[in-house]
Structures are given as C-alpha cells and as structure tokens.
C-alpha cells in the first residue's frame, strides 16, 4: 500500500514538474523573482514595451507575493521555545549517558505500544514463515540486510526496538501487515537515513 502511495506521489510529482511551460508567462514569473539571466531579461523587457497587459500580469504576480508576505508571522511562544530547549537538553543528556532517543516526538509517544504490537506481529510472521505461508523471497531475506550496521539510521533505537524494526523491515511488502499504521510508523524510522542522504552537501 505504501508503495502504491509512493508511486502515486511520484507520478503526481512528475506531472507537477514536467509540464509544457508557457514560456513567456513563466519568464515573467522568473523576472518577478529576479531569476532571469541578463539576456533573457533584456528580451523580456523588449516584449513588455509592446505588451502593457504583461505589465498588469507581472503586477498581479507581485501582488500575490506581497499578500503572502503581509500575513502575520506567528510568534514563537515562550512555552514552545522552552519545550524545544528541554527536548534538546534531554537529547543531549541521553546521548551523553549512552541512552537512546527516538527520532520523532510523536513517535516517542507511541513507541511503547508500537513496539509491543510490532513484536507480536513479528512473532506471527516468523511462525507463518515456518509454516510456509510466506512468499519464499520473503523467507529468504539475506542475513546481511538485517544487520544493524546496514541501517545506520536506526542507531537511535533501543536494542529491543531495533530488533523488532529490523525484523519488520523484511515484512514491508507483506500485504496484510503493511496496512497497519504501526508499520508505517516503524518504516518512518528510516526518515533519518533519508535525511542524511538528502541533506548531504548542504551541511551534514
């Protein structure tokens, strides 16, 4: 199910970004953003001289930006700031003491029951696989894919949770289990590695 969702998302992203551009209008938008090259800007200015309606269009584009900028920015409440500071301190002291901190604050709240449920699911899976009811490719996941060192992103998990999560990674395609939201949450542990990959070259 999550794979279908990802595919849908990828298709919608492709549609969203690979459309046939309306050259002049797109150039006008880029001009408003100061993103045209010198030559392209000169070309556009020449076109604008004989097309007053384009000036009006550019003015509307600017009006959209101004309207967005004009909306009041929320202030960060002292309570929220204190909460973040506390979370940072907890994370730091947990790291110093060698304890583990779960990645998402929301996940932290559900982790105990999620881990318990996941453990149950893992047991069901293992028993099912022994009875031969699991697709053979699932039962033959190479041991190397389950080694902790191959999933650095989960290094924040407690050992017991890590074991369950690793077991569940192999179950990701197992249709019945996949529909459970808890699996979605556990798969979300992988976010950290996605971040490491996605933010490489930017600052980490």
């Amino acid at each position: 199910m999550s794979r279908e969702r990802d595919e849908d998302h990828a298709m919608s992203r492709e549609r969203d970004e690979n459309h046939e551009p309306d050259g002049l209008d797109e150039a006008l938008s880029a001009w408003v953003d100061g993103e045209l090259s010198r030559e392209a800007e000169a070309q556009l200015r020449a076109t604008l001289e004989s097309a007053p309606e384009l000036h009006a269009r550019a003015q509307k584009f600017r009006a959209v930006d101004e309207a967005l900028r004009g909306m009041a920015a929320p202030e960060v409440s002292p309570e929220f700031a204190a909460r973040v500071r506390r979370a940072i301190e907890e994370q730091s002291s947990a790291a110093e003491s060698g304890a583990n901190v779960l990645p998402m604050s929301g996940l932290r709240r559900v982790a105990p029951w999620a881990a318990a449920l996941a453990a149950g699911l893992a047991v069901v899976f293992v028993m099912s696989s022994r009875e031969g009811s699991v697709p053979s490719e699932m039962a033959e996941v190479p041991a190397a894919t389950l080694q902790p060192e191959t999933v650095d992103s989960w290094s924040d998990l407690a050992d017991a949770e890590l074991e369950v999560a690793l077991e569940l990674e192999a179950l990701e395609d197992f249709e019945v289990i996949e529909q459970l939201e808890v699996l979605e949450l556990l798969v979300a542990f992988d976010d950290d590695s996605a971040f490491d990959e996605n933010t490489q070259g930017l600052g980490s």
């Binding site: 993103e35 269009r57 929320p74 700031a81 973040v84 994370q91 939201e181 070259g201």
Partner: protein
C-alpha cells in the same frame, strides 16, 4: 563553504562545543520555520512538532556539520523533508487551527476611510491568497512560499525540494498563476476593487 553566513559561524561554534550558539539560531529561525511549516501542513500543533524535530535534528547533526551552503538552505531542507513525510502519512487531519484564523474579521467598508479601505482590502486579499495557496499541490505551495516569502533563490528552493532549478521555476510560476486565475477580480488594483468587494 559560506563563511560569510553568520548562521554558519554559529553552527560551527555549536559543532565545536559552544552550546550557547544554539540559542540565537533557534531565536532567529524558529518563527519563520513555524510560519512555513504551518502553511505546509495546515496545522499549528503539527507544525510546532516539526519545528521541534527540525531543531533536534540540527542539534543531533552538529558534530558532523560541514558547511557547504547557507545554514538556512540546510535547515529548510530538513524541515521540508519532514513536512513532506508528514503530508504523505495517512491519518485523520485535525481541523486547521491557524494562528491567524481569528484575524478574519467581517468587512465594514461603508464607513471606512480610504486608507482603512486599503488596509481592509489588503488583508482580505491576503486571506484569499492564503486560502488559495493552501489548495495548491504541496510542492507548488512550498516552492512559492520559499521563494516569495522566505526570499530564497531558485537554487536554494531547489536544494530544499530536491528538485532542479528548472522545476522550481515551473513550480513557482504555476503556483502564482493558479492563484491569480482563481482569484480573478480580487487581484485587480484597489481603486476598482471596492465595489467588487461589496458584491461578494
């Protein structure tokens, strides 16, 4: 490395063990980040969680921080990834509890002075634009916000969205264009606008 960016210098100090460097980074970026995430996930409580998570990740990554772009580019990349993950997560959404929902006061055009009219009009346009923004596909919404409100270059937006600059140019244009088309007369200059406001 962008060593002219004061935030990069703070981040380097944090990396080198100066925990006090975190505070000014948070003070400077928490509000714009909250504003951005609130508009993206359309829920204040969720946006706050994501802001917290963004800063937790920044703090967690401090020891291996190597500046290769502006600090804000990295920060928004993290926040954008979190927002996209949140938006893809199937769950029942809470109603939108935007911090400025209570600013949508009824209009009182008949007795308003000209400058008051302008202000009222500007606010109504702002609210309408914001509503239309929230209807846009997520990546168009993010691209337009980062470019128009946060003042990021297409290259920076591209880094935040993991897209090409060409895609960002297209996303921003389509977002703006959709809003202008949908709002139609609302985008007309203010002097021709007053009677139309009354009609709505």
């Amino acid at each position: 490395m962008d060593d002219t960016d004061p935030d990069v210098r703070l981040m380097l100090a944090l990396r080198d063990g100066d925990e006090s460097a975190f505070e000014p980074l948070f003070d400077r970026w928490a509000a714009p980040l909250l504003r951005y995430l609130e508009r993206m996930v359309r829920d204040t409580a969720t946006a706050e969680e994501l802001v917290q998570e963004t800063f937790l990740r920044v703090h967690r990554a401090r020891e291996r921080y190597v500046p290769e772009a502006r600090f804000s580019t990295w920060l928004y990349r993290i926040a954008t990834n979190l927002a996209l993950n949140e938006l893809r997560r199937p769950r029942q959404r809470r109603p939108h509890t935007s911090m400025d929902d209570d600013t949508a006061a009824p209009l009182g055009l008949s007795s308003a002075s000209s400058s008051q009219d302008d202000r009222v009009h500007a606010r109504r346009v702002g609210e309408e634009v914001m509503r239309e923004l929230e209807k846009l596909p997520e990546r168009q919404r993010m691209a337009l916000w980062l470019s128009a409100v946060e003042g990021q270059s297409y290259a920076e937006v591209a880094a935040a969205l993991d897209a090409s600059e060409g895609s960002v140019k297209s996303l921003v244009h389509r977002a703006r264009s959709s809003i202008v088309e949908r709002l139609g007369q609302w985008m007309d200059p203010v002097d021709t606008k007053k009677s139309k406001l009354g009609e709505r």
